[in-house]
């Protein structure tokens, strides 16, 4: 009996809102404001695939109005094309364009779409190379890349564990502080890259807010999921933190993997094999960060292996996903998740650290450790450059 009034009071504002919407749309106010103004058109390039004699383009309409693609240009020349499902792309709609074009290997190309109102949308292919076809070789190559960039460096970093175990308690805290530094650096990087990827997200999908949603969402969800373990204290809490660090780093590496795959799917792949070594150095420090919380415990080998896999394997997964179906939206979202997960784990480590160091973040050894962690990441980052 009491439920009906509650429901009624819940529905009433919604009903009024619906009525108000009808009044606004029927009153001609919208038409009045739009009178004589050309439609707002926006098309984003989701994916560009290069095959011998063909360029395939996937687009999404993130603007408020439908867009009619009237003509297609490649390198400032009108070119034949076919478009599915239709030349007219509705709001939030997608379409694929096939252009039979004799593109030149290792040279840049530009694809431009000309709408019926004369607006142009361009995409630059910096260096044209055939897009790898999805198949056994594709999975194998990208798995190898993920292994080299993600899994192996993290595993090597984990091998600092025996050293950490022999350290004095004060220096373990120092190592934890270093971990905080590493994570702050990675978190900032994920956030920065997330916002950068957000710029490529079709307008209606609100890239910037997607970053906020992903990051804050990750913090809250992880806190909810791991909250009870984190309050228990002792070895269980420390192990939970280690897994959270691995997860955070894993999500960050997933974002990196997506970028690797995306480099191919957007036709942006260029050569530079020596940079791999820089990345291996860079990512090795991630392993150190994972084992630092459990240095005083005696984790089983299996635990260490699991930690390494959680942190490293997502690189492979990301590379596959990015190579097969990259979209700026997913890249943004995963990078944001990584940033949030890292923020959450920084909070968790700080709690542990503040307990053992008497709550003094600005104690010289702790502050120095955080700074050292950031400096290490910066320095190894320089090697990448």
């Amino acid at each position: 009996v009491t439920r009906f009034p509650v429901l009624r009071w819940a529905v009433l504002p919604l009903a009024l809102l619906a009525a108000a919407t009808v009044v606004v749309t029927r009153s001609g106010l919208v038409e009045y404001l739009r009178r004589g103004v050309p439609p707002v058109e926006e098309l984003s390039f989701e994916r560009v695939t290069l095959e011998p004699g063909r360029i395939l383009v996937d687009i999404v309409n993130g603007g408020p109005d439908a867009v009619l693609v009237a003509q297609v240009l490649v390198d400032e020349a009108y070119w034949q094309f076919t478009m599915t499902p239709d030349r007219s792309v509705p709001r939030l709609g997608r379409a694929s364009i096939e252009i039979p074009y004799p593109w030149v290997k290792d040279e840049p190309h530009q694809v431009t779409l000309l709408s019926s109102t004369g607006i142009t949308f361009s995409h630059e292919i910096p260096v044209a190379t055939p897009t790898p076809q999805v198949g056994p070789r594709f999975f194998w190559v990208f798995a190898l890349i993920g292994l080299s960039v993600g899994v192996i460096p993290v595993a090597i970093g984990l091998l600092w564990y025996p050293m950490l175990r022999r350290l004095d308690r004060r220096w373990v805290d120092f190592a934890l502080a270093i971990t905080i530094g590493l994570l702050v650096f990675l978190g900032a990087d994920a956030l920065h890259e997330g916002f950068e990827a957000a710029a490529g997200v079709a307008g209606a999908y609100q890239g910037t807010l997607l970053v906020v949603l992903g990051a804050v969402g990750a913090v809250l969800l992880l806190q909810m999921a791991a909250g009870s373990r984190l309050k228990k204290g002792g070895a269980e809490e420390r192990q939970a933190i280690a897994f959270l660090i691995a997860l955070g780093i894993g999500l960050h590496n997933l974002g990196e993997g997506l970028a690797i795959g995306a480099a191919y799917s957007l036709g942006e792949a260029t050569l530079g094999a020596f940079l791999m070594i820089g990345f291996m150095l860079h990512n090795t420090t991630e392993g150190l960060g994972i084992v630092a919380p459990i240095a005083q415990d005696r984790p089983r080998i299996r635990t260490l292996v699991n930690l390494g896999l959680i942190a490293g394997l997502p690189t492979i997964l990301g590379a596959w996903l990015g190579g097969m179906a990259y979209s700026p939206m997913w890249a943004t979202f995963f990078l944001a998740l990584g940033a949030g997960a890292i923020a959450q784990v920084v909070i968790a480590i700080y709690r542990v650290l503040s307990r053992s160091a008497g709550g003094q973040l600005l104690e010289p050894l702790t502050a120095g450790g955080v700074l050292a962690g950031m400096l290490v990441m910066y320095a190894t980052g320089l090697m990448v450059a």
Binding site: G53, Y78, R87, P102, P130, P132, L275
Partner: protein, 340 residues
Amino acid sequence: MDRDRRLSRRELLKRGAAGAAGVAGLTVLGDSAGATMHAARGEPSAMNGAHSMAGVVGSVSSDGFDPQAFLEHFDWGAESRLPSGQTLREYDIHAVDREIEVAPGVLFPAWTFNGQVPGPTIRAREGDRVRARFRNMGTHAHSLHFHGFHPADMDGSLEPVPPGGEFVYEFDAEPAGLHLYHCHVMPLKKHLHKGLYGAFIVDPPTPRPPAREMVMVMNGFDTNFDGENEVYAVNTVAFAYHHRPIEVRKGELQRIYLVNALEFDLVNSLHLHGNFFHVFRTGTSLSPHEFTDTIMMCQGERHVIEFSYRHTGPFMFHAHQSEFAELGWMGLFNVVERTV
């Protein structure tokens, strides 16, 4: 852009990854990159076939401006005789805003003379009295500015005609030659590239030899208003004469009144395939200045060119700026046997 110059961590990752893929492909998998190369070489038709796929898709709707009709249409005006015995030619020209189709499916919000771009080709004989009644039915001030001899108050450059206004331009048609008329209201670039221009032909007292005559106004359209043309053409519609070639009889003298009304780009040109032509610069002399197959023209420059074909078949004509040609300024003459 700034972003391109800066190498972010992720940017480098991509490169590193690409490098790794290359290394992995070559060392671990044997010949991944090579396999793709081979595939490309193994299917030459894929690449070669794509070479002939240039041009626009679809065709311009037929209910608007017809480039074929415009090509050979000359507006001689309403002819009468003044008491002095001088021939009077009266023209009605109005400016009106109109959306025009400049390439299949691509609409351009133009400012037009008599609803078309280029405006009607105005033609008179040297010494005729020209009386052009101009009505401005557009949304901005416009004017008619003719090239040629005329009094200062007939110049159309210092007295804009407001929307709804009217002005009668009157002067004697001279000198003989191929001239231009256009709106001369500031901002000039805007008024010109929006479409307010046309050819003004003054025939010499001694007529030119009989020929098949055509008007070609080379123009372009900046559809996204970024100061560069997206569409180039003769007589407005990209590839119009490429899709519907102009039929020409072998051996017959062809005369083109060629006008460059292009904005933004400094020069334009015409190149004829399988042929050479005589150039009568600005059409002011009856003896040719040059015999060539390519002529370069600055903004506002005009020439009369004459030629005839020795061979039958399709022959291209286009701007020799490849960029302009591929953006629409390309056409075909289809030369056929002369039937008696």
